[in-house]
Amino acid sequence: MSAEFAEGLRLAGAGMGLVFATLVALMVILFALGRFFPGEEAEEAVEVPDTHAPAAQDEAAAPVAEPPAPIEAAAAPATGSAPVPQPDAIAAPARDGVPGSKVAALAVAVYLAMEQEEAERAGASPTPSVAAASQADTQPSQPTSNWGILGRAALWQSQGRRPSAYGHRAHSAYPSSRGGGA
């Protein structure tokens, strides 16, 4: 074993040791910061009082507290990336009483639709595997998740809903003339 190789071995051992020691110290500091300066609890999932999309409603009642952040993380330090909705803005309930989770689902659905449109506009991607990776990343093919179902339902309601036929209003804005009320 040459002297230089032995020196390299020492460097590797000491180097990994120092990197680990530093990051372990950092982990301890992070725990301490979390303990002494705790952040606010994340908002609980808000149930969607929605009568138009029963399937989405059932799904949405359970664990909606999860994933707004993928959007932010995906866009974070990639220089030149397009502006996207921020998770803080998504998670907060809207002022006019629209549930925050519904707003978030709508934002996610719009974002995914935009990405899909962008991908289609870009045409055939040069490397199939790269394209597949990025598509799988951004666009769950079936709306199997709560977010997907809720998002699609919200988007459908707000953007894709056709006007009701004349005389077939789903909900009347006024109380019934017989006094039954809405």
Binding site: V19, A42, V130, A133, S145
Partner: protein
């Protein structure tokens, strides 16, 4: 007289023609394949300009030579880049889940494994250190370290190898990740953090990191200092103009200059050498080992946590931000389309940035 009418054509060499082809390949990879176009396009054009016959653009008093002198020889450009990277990086995932910081440390093993491999292949220790740092998967760190340790002939190939492999992370990592994990492990859904990070914690964290890193690895202090200064600008909330300037104008201008300056080091007499292939091979090895070590520690943490940590996020410990985190997420979604790993993968990903800067400082401290 006749020679003058032909312009620079008599000065055209086969080496220059080959380097122009390399330049066009880099431009093609950036434009058509979208492989790190922000860097590969300026580097490609820098290579093209540097190899134009008789133009002298890359010589000491040519404009690329001046750029190299003011920004690359003294490591200014990588540091300015790191300021922008810090302003773009959100350390909240790390603050919310501190244990994932260990994964950022494990992935740095690729650096040291590549150093050993380079020594075995006959490189001297300083050049081996510079080549090994490709495994950090961090462009500014790679350039910062290599410009201090390596021979100038190697600066270009090392930078191009680093950025090329960073761009190829979606192709390089998934096979390794799938090979080392079972489907059941890939399907693990991690609990979403219940608390947000407080403002005080987000401000104190970068300050503490600056002090800690400079105590452990003083040579890393410039890198970590600029990274964390950028992050303070982002988190402070009262200097939005400075934060936005760092996130946009500063990093964009520096990217252009850095790319051109790095490209200008790749002249035919320096680049068309057998050692270039060795650097690319060792860079690939470093990336693979970094991914393997990250995933293996992820598996250990999976077992130690009672199967609550998805080992895929270990691969995000290589600091190609945010690409490596996206790859961990997409590989996880292949096993379960309802699994949103990216939030959890961003923790090790940004820890990898810190880990690679510290590892770079350790290597510099030992070898300078």
């Amino acid at each position: 007289m006749f020679g003058e009418t032909l312009g620079a054509i008599p000065d055209l060499t086969w080496g220059a023609v080959a380097m122009m082809a390399v330049a066009l390949l880099l431009v093609y990879l950036g434009l058509a394949r979208k492989y790190e176009p922000l860097l590969l396009l300026p580097i490609g054009i820098g290579v093209l300009l540097a190899n134009l016959p008789a133009a002298g653009i890359a010589e000491e008093d040519g404009f690329l030579g001046i750029l190299r002198k003011v920004g690359l020889d003294n490591e200014l450009f990588p540091l300015l880049m790191f300021l922008g990277v810090g302003a773009l990086t959100d350390f909240t995932p790390l603050l919310q889940n501190p244990t994932t910081v260990l994964l950022g440390a494990a992935a740095q093993f690729g650096i040291f494994a590549a150093i050993m491999a380079a020594l075995l292949l006959g490189w001297d220790l300083n050049n081996a250190g510079a080549i090994g740092i490709i495994g950090s998967a961090d462009g500014p760190t790679t350039i910062f370290v290599s410009t201090q340790l390596a021979d100038p002939d190697l600066w270009g190939p090392i930078a191009v190898a680093a950025y090329s492999y960073m761009a190829l992370v979606p192709l390089l990592q998934p096979p390794i990740m799938k090979l080392l994990t079972t489907r059941r492990e890939r399907q693990v859904k991690m609990p979403y953090p219940s608390r947000a990070a407080s403002y005080k914690a987000r401000i104190l964290f970068p300050i503490i990191v600056i002090i800690l890193a400079s105590l452990v690895a003083p040579k890393a202090a410039p890198l970590v200092g600029m990274l964390m200064f950028g992050n303070i600008l982002r988190e402070a909330g009262v200097v939005e103009r400075l934060a936005k300037a760092s996130q946009n104008e500063l990093i964009n201008v520096t990217t252009i200059f850095l790319g051109l300056a790095v490209g200008s080091t790749m002249t035919a007499d320096r680049f068309l050498e057998p050692h270039t292939f060795g650097i690319f091979a060792l860079g690939l090895f470093a990336f693979a080992i970094a991914t393997v070590s990250g995933v293996l520690l992820g598996k250990i943490m999976y077992l130690a946590s009672g199967r609550k940590i998805n080992p895929l996020i270990g691969a995000a410990g290589v600091s190609a931000v945010p690409m490596a985190a996206r790859v961990a997420h997409s590989v996880g979604q292949e096993s379960d389309s309802d699994n949103w790993l990216i939030v959890h993968a961003m923790g090790p990903n940004v820890a990898g940035v810190l880990g690679s800067a510290i590892a770079g400082g350790v290597v510099l401290g030992a070898l300078l």
